[in-house]
């Protein structure tokens, strides 16, 4: 099947098998290996990407379902307007607050955090925890991930002023 989509601001046209998962399309066809596969069953969130602005788990989306969509992966986060030419504030938060250890869940966590801040620019701690409850991390105990997203929220608020 033929699909056409925008990924990280670039147009792509591909002929793919109907059963190809979006995550494998991104990783194996486009070479965007920053999006990870942790479970293939929508349970861990390592493969989270933005699809038309919404955080989705790309291991249970078929690539053909993304036909015509706009996708942002971790590789595209720094290219978003909010990043101001540097790191996305959520990426910066993860670095500042030691929000990662092995780094495997991190791209998905960053995307989930960024999606939350799009909808809710000033989330409470409980709201942050709720927003990342679909993303598993085995290293950090989540505390510094929560702090990282909170850091980003405050930073983005400051910039808007």
């Amino acid at each position: 099947m033929d699909i056409q989509l925008r990924v990280n601001g670039k147009e792509y046209q591909s002929r793919i098998e109907p059963r190809l998962l979006l995550v494998h399309y991104l990783r194996d066809v486009l070479g965007l290996t920053g999006t990870h596969v942790g479970c293939e069953t929508t349970l861990c969130g390592a493969c989270t990407v933005l699809l038309d602005g919404k955080a989705v788990k790309s291991c249970t989306v078929l690539a053909v379902q993304a036909d015509g969509a706009e996708i942002t992966t971790i590789e595209g986060m720094a290219g978003l307007p909010v990043a101001n030419g540097g790191l996305h504030p959520v990426q910066e938060g993860f670095w500042e607050k030691h929000g990662l250890q092995c780094g495997y869940c991190t791209p998905g966590m960053i995307i989930a955090g960024a999606a939350l801040l799009e909808k809710n620019p000033a989330p409470s701690e409980a709201e942050i925890r709720h927003a990342i409850a679909g993303n598993l991390c085995r290293c950090t105990g989540y505390q510094n991930i929560v702090a990282a997203i909170d850091y980003a929220a405050k930073k983005m608020k400051k910039r808007k002023r």
């Binding site: 990783r27 990870h36 942790g38 720094a78 670095w95 709720h130 290293c139």
Partner: protein
């Protein structure tokens, strides 16, 4: 030579993060080579069965399939999966890389195939026809040791793989003199490590050069290289192991797995790069599990709460076959069973029991979480029986700081500690007395708050080679380039711990250079001298010490060069801000880069000095280290649903001197949350036929962000005397110290219902049933 600590001890941001937060890092599955083939493993659906036949003819002709290997194809060509641990009299429960004649657990590899595409490989896997003759299985270790149990190995007369015994002090006398003997059967359940990145291997072979390169998500690149060479019967110098980014391990990648040898063999046979990536389901079934011990525990106590003696009989479920360290792990429980208490007499018997399950091996803590759970749970049972405060019972039995080094009746020598101080700190931080008042007030209102305490000691910095199965030292090489840039090559193999940062901090301080001038390289056997790896909370204490020694050698050399030029005693020189200078006369100074240049240009060196700046050190620790701490947890239990809510958590940890407090705190956070998993959620369940019921994340609950209160952290600092930096290790503290604190809190909450002990994990339904039974009894 004094060292200024501009970076050591500081919360420096991690050097590895920029690539990780931008999706620019490379894990095994991110590697892509031209002509790469994809492997799929065909696994046993039975827990115990005889293999009648394996028919791969349909799979061989399936679309995209390049090769299929059955046991017949690899017999004699690939050696057994290695076990490095030796216990006198242990039976040889060794496993071939593909099952021969019999399968003994669900998920055991029976065949492997490769295809041109990962989807086609999985399609073809279903076409391999294996005819099984199912046999009765045994999954419960208490049943497996009965005479009537099915036998896993026809050649053994029972399912007991080994017996390990240890006695210290006069146990008979202790129990005779006791006012009371407190007994409790306790279960420390089987857990599944679930690193977020499953295992994965890529192998490539260059027949002209006879070079096999294996990329594996492992904690032990050098040991893996030695073992793969041995299993495949090729010279060690023909094998290079590279550890790319590793997405978590927690001990589960401290091993040598069948797939590593099989994929390497396939690459050599086909002269093509081959990739195998474990699915999550495979990860649950056939990556090592942890814990799984039943302990029949007895404590001999005086009425005043002092401990006289301990008896522990432990059934350690080791699964169907040994992996690398399987038999050794329960012995760590035995050695650490006294915890941080003076117990004059102990008697321990451990039975390693074979069952139709995946092997247990090192999962974060590896034997010490079990020991700590048993003794800390028992201390609360003693307190309940003597109607004393759990704080008082603990305080009464601590060795005092002046008694260190303190030798336990199990033969270990604890290096340094102040248990009283960490306990006092956690009581103060949590406002313990106020909490008890709050608890009493809530109980009157029918609300069940619980307060749980755990004072723990762990054994880290593994370890003296005399006590380790295959060397306990670590290596480090420091190579300063002519431009003044510093390469640190470490035998440690970090997978999230952040040694690229902490080792950089150490090197930057000792050489007086900027962190930007230091590159830490690890996990490539062609570049890094032989090393042991990262596990057992050893990287900083052993690997960092090796680095310290290597840096000292180069400092000495650079000081001699600078001293020769400046005409001063090299012993008076210091290193700071890219300068080598005399502290009392700062004008007597040489630029660091100039001294480095002199070593390479080699025209002005002191007479007899070799050119170059390259030093290697192998650090052999004289003892383990023994970090410790005190954790306190506050929970509320809903008596109608059995739901446990974590309300507050206070941790006080002492891991000696600290290189980077940010990273230390992160390690403890993660460990505590894995303990929350063990205490409340996680349990590997096999049904009676040996099917793994919790075989996916759908059925095996991991802690989520919403399950946790903010963790309130603190540290005390008691340096270790056994290594040059006084560090102890912290990677496993959280999983060791926290589980009993959470469990003790839940049991404390349930005390009004007459509950004295609850087995792990304390799921809603289990607590609800206990409460229902208790209410009915009333």
């Amino acid at each position: 030579m004094a060292t200024a600590t501009r970076y050591i001890g500081k919360a420096m941001k991690r050097k590895e993060d920029p690539r990780l937060i931008q999706g620019l890092a490379h894990y095994v599955d991110d590697l892509q080579f031209a002509g790469m083939l994809y492997a799929a493993v065909i696994r046993s659906p039975h827990a115990h069965a005889r293999i009648r036949s394996v028919d791969a003819s349909k799979a061989r002709t399936a679309s995209g399939v390049v090769a299929v290997l059955t046991e017949e194809d690899v017999r004699g060509a690939i050696g057994m999966i290695p076990c490095a641990a030796q216990i006198p009299g242990m039976k040889a429960a060794l496993r071939p890389v593909l099952a021969a004649e019999k399968v003994r657990f669900v998920g055991e590899p029976v065949a492997i195939l490769v295809a041109t595409d990962r989807y086609l490989a999985r399609d073809a896997a279903d076409l391999v026809e294996v005819d099984y003759d199912p046999l009765p299985a045994v999954v419960d270790p208490e049943k497996a040791i009965e005479k009537s149990s099915p036998l896993l190995y026809d050649q053994f007369k029972d399912n007991i793989a080994y017996r390990w015994e240890l006695e210290g002090g006069d146990v008979k006398k202790a129990f005779k003199q006791a006012d009371r003997v407190v007994k409790q059967r306790m279960v420390n359940q089987r857990l599944i490590p679930v690193a977020m990145e499953p295992r994965g291997v890529v192998a490539d072979y260059k027949p002209g050069e006879k070079q096999l390169t294996v990329w594996s998500s492992t904690q032990i690149p050098h040991l893996l290289r030695t073992q793969i060479a041995g299993m495949l019967g090729v010279p060690e110098f023909s094998v290079r192991v590279i550890t790319p980014e590793v997405g978590g391990a927690f001990g589960s990648k401290l091993n040598v797995y069948a797939e590593e040898a099989l994929v390497a063999y396939l690459a050599m046979k086909l002269n093509k790069p081959v990739k195998w990536i474990e699915s999550r389901r495979e990860n649950f079934q056939s990556t090592i599990h942890g814990r799984d011990q039943i302990n029949y525990f007895e404590l001999a106590v005086k009425s005043d709460g002092s401990l006289l003696g301990l008896r522990a009989r432990i059934l350690a479920d080791i699964g169907a076959y040994y992996q690398l360290l399987t038999p050794l792990i329960p012995t760590m429980t035995g050695l650490m069973i006294c915890g941080c208490y003076k117990i004059p007499a102990v008697q321990i018997e451990i039975l390693g029991v074979l069952t139709n399950k995946m092997a247990t091996d090192a999962y974060r803590g590896a034997g010490r979480p079990e020991a700590t759970y048993f003794i800390e749970r028992a201390m609360d049972v003693v307190a309940a029986e003597l109607k004393k405060d759990p704080v008082e019972i603990r305080r009464k039995n601590f060795p005092q700081p002046k008694e260190f080094p303190y030798t336990t009746p199990t033969g270990l020598t604890y290096d340094s500690a102040d248990y009283q101080k960490s306990l006092d700190t956690v009581l103060k931080n949590s406002q313990y007395i106020k909490l008890r008042k709050e608890q009493a007030a809530l109980r009157k209102k029918g609300r069940y708050m619980g307060i749980g305490l755990s004072t723990y000691v762990e054994i880290c910095a593994m370890g003296p080679s005399s006590a380790m199965p295959a060397g306990g030292w670590e290596s480090a090489t420091v190579r300063i380039e002519p431009s003044g840039k510093v390469n640190v090559l470490t035998g440690s193999s970090p997978h999230g711990q952040g040694q690229e940062t902490t080792f950089c901090q150490i090197a930057a301080d000792l050489l007086g250079v900027s962190p930007e001038d230091v590159l830490v390289i690890h996990g490539d056997t062609a570049i890094v001298p032989y090393g042991i790896g990262t596990f057992g909370s050893r990287a900083t204490a052993v690997g960092g010490s090796a680095l310290y020694r290597a840096l000292e050698k180069l400092r000495e050399k650079l000081a001699k060069i600078a001293g020769h030029q400046l005409g001063v005693d090299p012993g008076k020189l210091e290193f700071l801000d890219h300068k080598i200078f005399v502290k009392s006369e700062p004008r007597k100074s040489m630029a660091f880069g100039e001294a480095v240049g002199a070593a390479y240009v080699a025209k002005t060196l002191p007479p007899g000095m070799e050119p170059g700046l390259d030093a290697t050190a192998f650090f052999e620790p004289s003892n383990f280290t023994f970090p410790f701490g005190a954790h306190l947890c506050v929970v509320e239990v809903d008596p109608d649903t059995g739901q446990v809510t974590l309300q507050k958590y206070f941790a006080v940890d002492d891991c000696g001197n600290v290189i980077n407090p940010l990273l230390v705190e992160g390690q403890v956070h993660g460990g505590i949350v894995q303990s929350v998993g063990q205490a409340l959620l996680e349990e590997a369940v096999y049904d009676e036929q040996g099917q793994l019921v919790t075989g996916e994340l759908t059925d095996y609950a991991l802690p989520r962000a919403t399950d946790l209160p903010p963790l309130q952290m603190a540290r005390t600092v008691t340096p270790s005397p056994v290594n040059p930096m006084g560090v102890k290790g912290v990677g496993e503290a959280g999983t060791i110290g926290a589980t009993p604190a959470i469990v003790n809190a839940v049991v404390d909450a349930l005390a009004p219902f007459g509950v004295r002990h609850v087995d792990l994990p304390m799921k809603r339904e289990r607590i609800w049933q206990i409460l229902r039974k208790s209410r009915r009894a009333k």
